[in-house]
Amino acid sequence: MDLIKSDFMLQLFEYRIAAAMIKKDLIASILEEKYQLLRSFQVLGIRREELITCSEVEAVLMSSTSVKDLFYASKCGETLLCSFQESALKTTVSRLLSSLDNTEALLDIHFSLGTLAFLKVQFPVALNDPVSIFQKIKVLSAEDGSWKYNPDDAGTSAKAAGTALETMGDLISLAGQAFDDAKIRYLKGVASKLFEFLEKYDDGTQFIDERPLDGLYGGGGPLAATSQVVKGVAVVASHTSGHIEVPAERVISVAKFFLTAGIHGSLLDMFHVLDGLGVLDKNRFLVPVILSVRPSVLSLSAKEVFKISTTTVLGSPVSATITLRKAVRANEKEPFLLNQVLESDETKGVHNLNDILNKLDIGSYDLTFKVKILEEGRYATEPITIRRVLVTGVASIPEVEVGVLDSDTGSTDYVKRWNPMSKEVVSLYATHLQKLYFGLDILSPRQEQFIPHQAFLKLKHETKVEHLFLLKPSGKKLELSLNLLGLVEKLNYLSGIYTIDLIVGDVAMENPVMWNLGTVELDLPEPPEGKVKLTSQAESPFKYGPRPEITHMFRPAEKRAPPTLSNTFLALTLVPLLGFLVGLKLLNTNMKNFPSSGLPVLAALLFHLGIGSILGLYALFWLKLNLFQTLKLLALLGTVLTVPGYYILSHLADASAPKVKSA
């Protein structure tokens, strides 16, 4: 039986995930949250006893003065199936009974009666005046069947009506004998009226919306409101005999509303969904029955069969007979199967759809079922249900035809049958005057032609530029014919080697493929003038990441003579001076013409000292002085030099002149 999953079981999986998440970080501290967790886990079938124990519940029941805490403690006790001693809770009971007399607020009455209704299961509890309590609650009702929480409330709401019904139900369970048929009829009328407050979503699900008034009393949104209303009706139904008139399709829509609500991660939302479903699953007015088809994706290769189950929202099987009214292939009109009663097992909860299997091929199908529940009255179901199922299988591609055709004549220049088994690659060559041709058959497991959703041929140039083409059905084949002349512009006049990839896939195909067929070398014409040939879109390798280092190349030092050479020439330049000195020595130079006395000596010394200092000035100019300093000093020295220069030269001239005359 575990093969069968109802729609809810799938949801259940998600709720379990949500529950697991709550486990992680939520240690519920408030009694109300503890109850919500307990109840959620109860519906999910998970036992979580560490949340609260019976003795803790008893402690709260004995000591707490808040009716709300008492109520949630008793709810926890109910979930945990605790039992208590009458003696311990006597004071609590009497306190609750007296508080009932003193309050007119719906929620307070609800909490007190709820607690008492639970305690009544353990030991007898007697209400003082059940009819006056009934009247107190009834006073809060409005004409249209909605309710107030407090006598001085401005508006009314359906959620409050749900609470009121639940309270009334508790009241009946505590003091049923006090109510006559008129009151019970009134209650049933309210209950069936409540379903008129339903609002519709686009997808057909129905819910009860929150009213501004509810925001003041806890809120919780449509989930809480719908859940409360369903609970109220269910409690009334469980404590009264006979039938409550509720339209079946509305109950189904409400069930769908809870089933499609999904998980939202919040404890409160999950609680309302699960609580609502828990009530719908077991109630005495109408139990919605959901038809589920499993698997919704059927694999032909795994030899699976369809199991159709009729279950309550939480997955308990419900006996029914199911007729397959028709089975239509998606996107087709003519049904291929009509009116077939399904076989079922003994419980009549699970039905097999065997006959259809040998007629199914891969693809999507719409199955229309007619459901007739064996046990009338208790259950509500959609009479006609349409479910879409997907059938998958292995499609076969025997070969791929790859060819090069002549554009003009259409004659085949080259053709190759590419074999998927050997996967031997082809290498083609084509010019812009030719056509490339690709063709393949895809056969379904029933050897029918199958057109997949994805049948692409990809040409990929060396520069990673890709072009995608679609293979289209033509006759029995999928074909693609590429007229290269018309494509040169699209291919950007980019000649070179392209790799050919074939991608075929579909939801119904269990063996999607991506094959490399080989390569084609295209010889395309050069682009016309003015057209820029797009080159590779390759990114610069240094867009991110370090670049290669750059070091500066310094200008090389100028070439210079080696020291030995320059030293040799240094010596050589001194040779003339040496020769001069040697020459002077050889000539036996003397200083006999040097004046011998007085002023001429001084003049001669000053003259040569002057010349010497000018030469020294030149040396200084070389070493440190600049031109201006040098010229200034030179002018000074030169001027000073003229005086002794003139004097000594004229003296020397005078000294030699008489001789010349005498000679």
Binding site: A18, R560, P563, I611, L615
Partner: protein, 441 residues
């Protein structure tokens, strides 16, 4: 394209605080320690159905504020001040926003350097397309198209379209995806988008596989799909020139609790994953988007001659100089020293004359030394640091370089000794000749 243009137009140059004379510990946090984030949803159930993602943000110190897109009191600014540091747009179908929020104000929000997470989904509105378009991302025009991949989908009982993609082509960047990266494929169900290859600012974080395509699964194709193969981006990020970061995902459910904990088996593979990589991916990438990783700043840029700590106003050719800069990375709480071996500095005049990798001391201080080239002119110290997933650092400091002065050349050249000596021997000879000529008898 559009964003690039917009970014040039609007962005202020990268915010770099120069010259804060302080160490790493006392660096002021330029960014908020408890950033406020506005979460815009078009259905409040998103708050609970994506609660794990929001909880991870809240745990990291973000203050989240949830608003419906239709909320009439919506506002991003109040008296010219931005009220939020980040915006999460989990409202794929939102056509209009309430209050003072519209496309222009959201783009201004990004232009002011603030961050945006945008999740699209099937049936995304024209408004969201426009915002995505301005961020350099183009979604498939067919509003019913989803990403389909018949070879790389996650097996699931409810997915009959092969549109639950198990994607594992991630960008190779530890800055964006964290050190560990994603350990399991990321589940994606949504629509495809593409980024312009010429746009340097947008990075494809999660790409589709070669067999993926974007199409309406209900309709038989008439021509090749507009987006296919690896050019499909599933999740992209944009780092604008002003360092605003934008995350664009084609799938809102990628961030959902359901996908976070979804155990699955990838088609054709024997390994099944206990849970998807979504939670890790979403958390890591949100760290990046909200600047907890990869946000750098450079401070204390100094340069000087070797042996002289003062920063000169000019260098001479062939000077030996040292350059230093401190780089820090923001962690969401503090600035920590950034450690990398690939920070480079250029000595630049029209083109780089020198490009050198900086050495670092592991404490965020990067140094190097080099010799100024023998070319004079106005140079720049340029530090252009552009790494995938990191903020771009672009610091330049101008410095002129002069040639030698006349007296800075070499004074006595050995090769010229013959010339020196010949002059002086000539001068000496001249002096001697004068004496001899005048007084010889």
């Amino acid at each position: 394209m559009a964003m690039a243009g917009r970014a040039i137009q609007v962005s202020s140059i990268i915010v770099i605080l120069l010259g804060i004379a302080s160490g790493s510990l006392s660096l002021p946090p330029d960014r908020s320690l408890h950033p406020r984030i506005l979460v815009l949803v078009d259905d409040l159930t998103v708050k609970s159905s994506h609660s794990l993602f929001f909880a991870s943000l809240a745990d990291r110190g973000y203050r989240l504020e949830f608003k419906l897109t239709s909320d009439p009191s919506l506002a991003l600014t109040s008296y010219g001040e931005y009220l939020f540091d980040g915006l999460i747009l989990f409202a794929p179908a939102a056509e209009h926003f309430g209050g003072s929020v519209d496309i222009a104000s959201i783009l201004d929000f990004v232009d002011s350097g603030r961050d945006l997470i945008l999740a699209a989904d099937v049936g995304m509105s024209e408004t969201l397309r426009t915002i995505a378009n301005e961020c350099g991302v183009e979604f498939d025009e067919d509003s019913n198209a989803v990403v389909i991949d018949h070879l790389n989908f996650a097996e699931s009982e409810t997915d009959t379209e092969h549109s639950l993609i198990a994607a594992d082509t991630f960008v190779a960047s530890s800055a964006i995806l964290g050190e560990k990266g994603a350990e399991a494929p990321v589940l994606f169900q949504g629509i495809a988008h593409s980024v312009a290859p010429a746009n340097d600012l947008v990075i494809k974080v999660l790409s589709a596989s070669a067999s993926a395509y974007s199409a309406n699964p209900e309709v038989q194709l008439n021509g090749p799909p507009s987006l296919s193969g690896t050019s499909i981006s599933l999740v992209s990020v944009l780092q604008a020139r002003n360092n605003a970061r934008v995350l664009i995902s084609g799938s809102l459910s990628l961030f959902s609790n359901k996908f976070f904990v979804f155990p699955f088996k990838k088609f054709g593979s024997s390994t099944s994953f206990q849970r998807s990589g979504n939670q890790m991916f979403a958390e890591e990438i949100s760290k990046w988007v909200f600047h907890e990783r990869g946000h750098l700043k450079a401070v204390n840029v100094h340069h000087h001659k070797v042996g002289n700590l003062e920063e000169p106003s000019m260098y001479r050719i062939t000077d030996h100089i040292e350059y230093s800069v401190e780089i820090y990375e923001w962690t969401g709480k503090t600035w920590k020293p950034y450690v990398a071996d690939d920070v480079q500095v250029q000595f630049y005049m029209m083109s780089p004359y020198i490009l050198k990798t900086l050495n670092h001391n592991g404490q965020g201080l990067y140094t190097t030394s080099f010799q100024v080239p023998d070319v004079y002119g106005v140079f720049q110290f340029k530090l252009d640091y552009n790494r995938l997933g990191y903020t771009t650092l672009a610091i330049s400091k101008q410095i002129p370089v002069r040639p030698f002065r006349h007296n800075e050349y070499e004074r006595f050249i050995p090769a010229a000794y013959p010339y020196y000596s010949s002059s002086f021997s000539m001068m000496f000879g001249f002096f001697l000749f004068g004496v001899v000529f005048l007084y010889h008898k």
